[in-house]
């Protein structure tokens, strides 16, 4: 035990607080004075290393896979869509994307691209919230409401940092906390739904309770659940609900791809009307939380932070690695504590899963493009809207499924079989759409 004891002094320093941190400490550098190890790793999210299917190099995905331009035709994503990178870039990347430069976007975009806690509170005060309520969740909900509907150009001036300590931590206890109203609304809707969520025991417990007060992640969720929920404030599918551009997570029927589709149907939502086909279609965005929820890791209580912020030994202490990135860049910490295989073996297993997903993704995109072109031709040949109705419906649902896995960032890893199932349905529906179209278009004379 000698070696353990000798590290004592070193160990104590780690929790000695140099400066006082309060709810008004926005600048991560100040927090870094008390928690230098976490701050050091936090800063390293500027790194830009590439992996087989992920990594942090922000290349243009539309050039890598031109089919996407056809599939998203008429929507901003067809103009600019890049590989995501570290948290350090979230604000600049949003400000600089052509999706913002060439199109009008609301302040709602900022919810997930900046440290907004302080901005929300200030906006609420300006909006008339009594000063003594500034640190309540009411303040956050107020600011949320106000900033969502602002024009992006105006709203973005209210923030200076990417997601920061204050967004994820209670400055007093350093416990992880939930600060995003959109997530609180979303998880409540989920709690009230009937979708079984064995991977979120606290929701199941709440459902069995008297439901007097609505589900509240900050008081009801376990520490391990929070290690995922904190990420689920942003790494989720979303839309801006009318009339106030309210950032909304569509979990009212459950987290599965068809349950979300069902919700969009119920509220009559479409993201845009496809330019070539005239179909009212949906765009999926980063449903990491939703797909992870269907996987074996979630079911086994393995949180986002376990793999993306694994404990890392620094000298005599271990800290959560705040260099949030692809686990493939640090398999030793991210995987090997639980999986006692060589790094090569672990990487090979991931490759098998992701390669399978990629192959299916290609088939799915081909099928969707095939359908789009078929409808386009039929339309040109004069097919009526009535005649095209069914085919357009099939485009909407096939494209939605294909896009769901395409937008999800683990290339199927978070739930391999579920990802394959979803792509299989995408293919089936797109091909059925083509059969619909053939029924109504003049047949190319053959035989």
């Amino acid at each position: 035990l000698q070696n353990i004891n000798t590290r004592q002094a070193e160990a104590r320093e780690t929790v000695f607080r140099v400066v006082e941190i309060t709810e008004d400490t926005v600048d991560p550098e100040v927090w870094g004075k008390n928690f230098p190890l976490q701050y050091d790793s936090y800063k390293r999210t500027v790194d830009t290393v590439r992996t087989r299917y992920g990594g942090s190099e922000s290349f243009q995905k539309l050039d890598q896979d031109p089919r996407l331009r056809i599939i998203w035709n008429g929507y901003p994503f067809a103009v600019d869509f890049r590989e995501d990178r570290g948290h350090a870039y979230m604000l600049v990347d949003q400000r600089q994307t052509e999706r913002v430069k060439q199109f009008n976007q609301p302040g709602a975009c900022l919810n997930c691209h900046a440290s907004v806690v302080d901005a929300f509170r200030k906006a609420a005060l300006k909006g008339g919230l009594p000063a003594d309520k500034v640190h309540t969740s009411e303040a956050l909900f107020e600011g949320f409401k106000i900033i969502n509907k602002m024009p992006y150009a105006e709203a973005t001036q209210l923030v200076d940092h990417p997601v920061s300590c204050l967004d994820c931590h209670d400055p007093k206890t350093m416990a992880v906390r939930i600060t995003r109203p959109a997530f609180i609304n979303g998880i409540r809707a989920l709690a009230e739904s009937k979708d079984p969520v064995p991977h979120l025991p606290s929701l199941e417990r709440w459902r069995q309770g008297n439901r007097a007060t609505p589900y509240d992640p900050n008081t009801d969720a376990s520490r391990q659940e929070l290690r995922s929920m904190v990420c689920a404030q942003c790494h989720v599918e979303y839309h801006f609900a009318k009339p106030d551009k309210t950032l909304t997570f569509p979990w009212h029927n459950g987290l599965k791809v068809e349950q979300i589709e069902q919700h969009y149907k119920e509220v009559g939502w479409k993201d845009w009307t496809h330019k070539d086909t005239g179909a009212d279609v949906l765009k999926a965005q980063h449903p990491e939380f939703e797909l992870w929820s269907q996987g074996i890791h979630a079911r086994s209580g393995v949180a986002c932070a376990d793999c993306h912020m694994p404990y890392t030994r620094v000298g005599a202490v271990k800290v959560s690695n705040h260099h949030v990135r692809s686990p493939m860049l640090g398999v030793a910490q991210a995987c090997q504590t639980c999986h006692r295989y060589s790094e090569e073996e672990i990487k090979a297993r991931v490759a098998v899963i992701q390669d399978r997903t990629k192959k299916l993704m290609d088939s799915a995109e081909d099928a969707v493009v095939g359908l789009i072109q078929a409808i386009q031709t039929a339309k040109a040949a004069g097919a009526s809207d009535e005649a095209l109705a069914r085919a357009r419906e099939l485009q909407r649902s096939s494209q939605w499924r294909m896009d769901f896995i395409n937008a999800e960032n683990s290339q199927g890893f978070h739930a391999p079989q579920e990802a394959a199932r979803i792509l299989a349905e995408a293919i089936d529906l797109a091909r059925q759409g083509q059969l619909e179209v053939v029924k109504i278009t003049p047949r190319p004379t053959s035989r």
Binding site: F35, A175, S222, V302, D306, K318
Partner: protein, 168 residues
């Protein structure tokens, strides 16, 4: 084990327990024969007096800790009183279980002992993880959550280090 055997053991077991209840002496004898008294020792070999402990004994020898910690370092409280209380309780439980043959297999650690176990992890590794722990008052709820479920809602050491005691 086949159901047939199962019931047979159970009957003999109940008989045995009645006996024990009546004659404390015999109780001691049972424990004697079952070498449950070996609970009074810290020697791992004491644990394997029960063949049923053989697997865990073997796996412990292959696991990272065999040089660092013996059974009782991990499985029994380190404070004097608690240690002897637990020894008494577990010694009795295990002898009884061994006699009745009515325990779940594969053998699984009980919540109470899992809590003792984690306490011991921290006891030895305080320095390494102190930063993590003290930074989170939310850690306090950890032990409370043990009852919760077996899906890892509780973030115990063993969630990530399931291999330390007995290997993969």
């Amino acid at each position: 084990m086949t159901d047939k055997n199962g019931t047979r053991w159970r009957w003999i077991g109940i008989a045995a327990v009645v006996l024990v209840g009546v004659l404390v002496g015999t109780g001691a004898y049972t424990a004697q024969r079952a070498q449950a008294l070996s609970y009074l020792s810290n020697d791992p070999k004491a644990c394997v007096n029960c063949h049923i402990m053989r697997d865990v004994y073997d796996s412990w020898q292959k696991a990272p800790h065999h040089a660092a910690a013996v059974c009782v370092d991990c499985h029994l409280p380190h404070d004097f009183v608690g240690k002897w209380l637990a020894k008494a309780e577990n010694g009795w439980n295990h002898s009884k279980a061994f006699t009745l043959q009515n325990f779940h297999e594969p053998i699984r650690i009980h919540a109470k002992n899992a809590a003792i176990l984690e306490h011991n992890c921290i006891g030895c590794h305080q320095n390494l993880i102190g930063g993590v722990l003290q930074a989170q008052t939310s850690y306090g709820q950890a032990h409370a959550e043990y009852a919760a479920d077996d899906k890892g809602a509780h973030l115990g050491c063993v969630n990530c280090h399931k291999d330390v005691g007995h290997g993969p």
